[in-house]
Symmetry: C2
Subunit: 429 residues, 2 copies
């Protein structure tokens, strides 16, 4: 742990610096693979699946029998847990639906804004040691609620060419049956350009390692949008003497187990709490199966003693954490004044785990300080807002002369003409 | 004009292809200038302003006296026009404010979503032959309504080192007084990295030439967000026999005068209308001051005769126009079913000019087919949505076991522990 005692404001940015990621080398690889996918499509996808995942895939599509078989392999208790999470996520994301906004700005000038679904979206779910089925809930549920027509899912196959049954079960439960056995750079390339089997989409969602992250970034050069730029996951906790040191330590450790580059920060005005948490960390750490990873992340973690709550808040806002837990007697102060955070967890009984899985909020959140300018994934991430206007003859009379004035001042005579022609036709009405 | 008669669906994408932009060469220039700005800050800004704008700027900030002087130089009639536009844009964008959304997903689990302003935003307004003061209204008004703390504006100086008075007047009218005399790549670099004079921002908005477009794209690699990727402006009109051919021609010409690469498309089921519009175009074209530009854009424009409205709509959705004017006896069919368009103008008395300046809708819209996945600029562009959750002891009892199940299935034991610790403390309550 790195311990800081009331650091000077001038040092904050250095203390809170995130590890820099080097993407230069990866960029060249991504461009090379993308170019090959553009030309050779499925053949290229299969080649790189062989190369990176070590498995030959004949049929890139998951077929219905595989999904059905998966359903029988998932235990009932886990199914019930997934069901509960699904209901909560649906409830919270349904509530985000908005009605069209209509304003008659001046008599005869009717303007309205409506949100319509992005028609084709692609969800990426990483493979690796654990099946991240919870992320399917977080992406597929709002995609369905938004009304996206085509929702496809790509996830890498294991060495035997199979997809983890919980992944297949959860996808099907959310109504997604177009699932492809492809991961990494080649999955992002497939959804960017389209192949014989895998469709091109308009927007790609989902987490991934640095290869996937760079591939998504480069995909944006080819007219595809992405949910948000990514970075290692992070948690900042503000805790005062009313916090439970054992809970604080457990929450820090839950963040630390994500990876050696996880960011873990504890800010407090209470030295007692800071001391207690350090003891708790050592005790709880010992029993964790991912201890190796956790120790490395905890070694890089930061415990920061601050003078008061106001300074603490400023420091937190300057960091802009992905996850922010606040356990304070003055929690309202933090809730009201936090300006930069992805998701906020309030009080001793609101661990990050709750939001990661089942409270209802989305766990796809801006990392790397992007909470300063990006939203986490929400219903609107799957919609785009369009504007409409309908102007009557009266409306044109009301705004036409102003439009003529302004277009003339901008030197755009054809814009003036389009208005003058109409105003002229109406001058006797 | 290029004329197509009921083209095969297989040919649509070729017919509707936008001109490709080559950005490779520009990228290297941008990276070089960015690197110099990172190191030398204001010195680099002044150097490139000298090089590209041909003027030596001592003080990059516009001072208050310059703004005051500008106010006296703008004619009253234009001021009144700007006032009317401002009121309408304010009315439409104020209406886009949303209340927090609160849901108790299960008893004791309270989730809410709130939008909070992006604190620091930068607006870019291009220079050139005409002062694009209308874009200031479109960006500064929602920035102010959203509550962004720091709103700065960059715009290039003319050869004498001055900024057009209408730009200064409009900016001040919208409450923006931090204005900097810097344009092009160096303006985007300044707002990306910050200099002694010009602050770093979290998100950059505004149009520009291809140098600005590439600079904005590259800025996103340095933790800055941008409003949207850009491309040449475009208009697609659907008009049937109820449309006024003279108005249709005038609207097409108003789009064509933006630049030689402007995209202008007319789709119709009526051959008579198509013939009439061609005649009108020739007549109206002759009197335009920007005739040289307009002729080139019109030469590349496309007139497409379609079999019926359903096929027309499909073609339009596959193109995803920035601006879409519909003059049809069945306008409701198009309004209800258009899925991909930036802004829609309905009926004979709703020219694009109206929305460009004064109806109240925003004119910063997705081009290049990005209407398929991006919103135009709106109030939300200056906000980010954050989620919050507060869970009671009852709430933890309700969702805790599901969280444990799911975290265990994902192999994340520390996530399980964070929940188990709390559930254990509550087992006798």
């Amino acid at each position: 742990m790195q311990i800081f005692n009331e650091p000077n404001r001038a040092d904050w940015s250095e203390i809170l610096k995130r590890p820099t990621q080097t993407v230069k080398d990866i960029e060249a690889t991504v461009v090379e693979i993308f170019n090959e996918i553009k030309l050779k499509k499925d053949v290229a996808i299969k080649k790189y699946t062989q190369l990176f995942d070590g498995v030959t895939i004949e049929n890139l599509s998951v077929d219905y029998a595989e999904i059905e078989a998966a359903t029988n392999l998932v235990e009932d208790e886990l199914k019930q847990a997934i069901d509960l999470a699904k209901r909560n996520i649906e409830a919270f994301h349904s509530a985000q639906k908005t009605d069209p906004i209509t304003v008659e700005t001046v008599p005869g000038v009717l303007c309205w804004q409506e949100k319509r679904p992005i028609e084709k979206v692609g969800l990426y779910i990483p493979g690796g040691s654990a099946p991240l089925f919870s992320t399917i809930l977080m992406l597929a549920i709002p995609a369905r609620l938004a009304g996206c027509n085509d929702v496809v899912l790509c996830t890498p196959p294991d060495k035997s060419g199979a997809i983890n049954p919980v992944i297949l079960y959860t996808a099907a439960l959310c109504g997604i049956t177009r699932i492809f056995k492809v991961g990494g750079i080649q999955a992002i390339g497939a959804m960017t350009f389209g192949t014989e089997t895998i469709p091109k989409v308009y927007k790609i969602f989902g987490p991934g390692n640095q290869f996937v992250t760079v591939a998504k970034q480069i995909a944006t050069k080819y007219d595809v949008a992405i949910d948000m730029p990514a970075g290692p996951s992070e948690l900042l906790i503000y805790a005062d003497e009313t916090a439970n040191a054992g809970y604080v330590a457990a929450d820090l450790l839950s963040q630390a187990e994500h990876g050696v580059d996880s960011q873990v920060i504890l800010v407090s005005t209470s030295q007692t709490l800071l001391d207690e948490v350090q003891i708790e960390l050592k005790v709880q750490l010992n029993v964790l199966p991912r201890k190796g990873i956790v120790i490395q992340a905890i070694n890089n973690s930061k415990l920061i003693k601050m003078l008061d709550e106001k300074m603490s808040l400023e420091l937190i806002n300057s960091y802009g954490p992905e996850h922010f837990i606040v356990c304070s007697k003055n929690e309202d102060f933090f809730v009201e004044n936090i300006r930069n955070a992805g998701s906020v967890f309030v009080g001793n009984f609101t661990p990050e785990s709750a939001g990661d899985y089942a409270s209802g909020t989305n766990h796809t959140l801006p990392t790397n300080g992007y909470a300063k300018q990006y939203s986490g994934v929400n219903l609107d991430s799957f919609l785009k807002s369009m504007t409409f206007q309908k102007i009557s003859k009266l409306g044109i009379k009301n705004i036409g002369p102003a439009v003529e004035q302004m277009a003339r001042a901008e030197g755009l005579q054809a814009h003036v003409n389009a208005m003058s022609l109409r105003l002229n036709d109406l001058k006797d009405e």
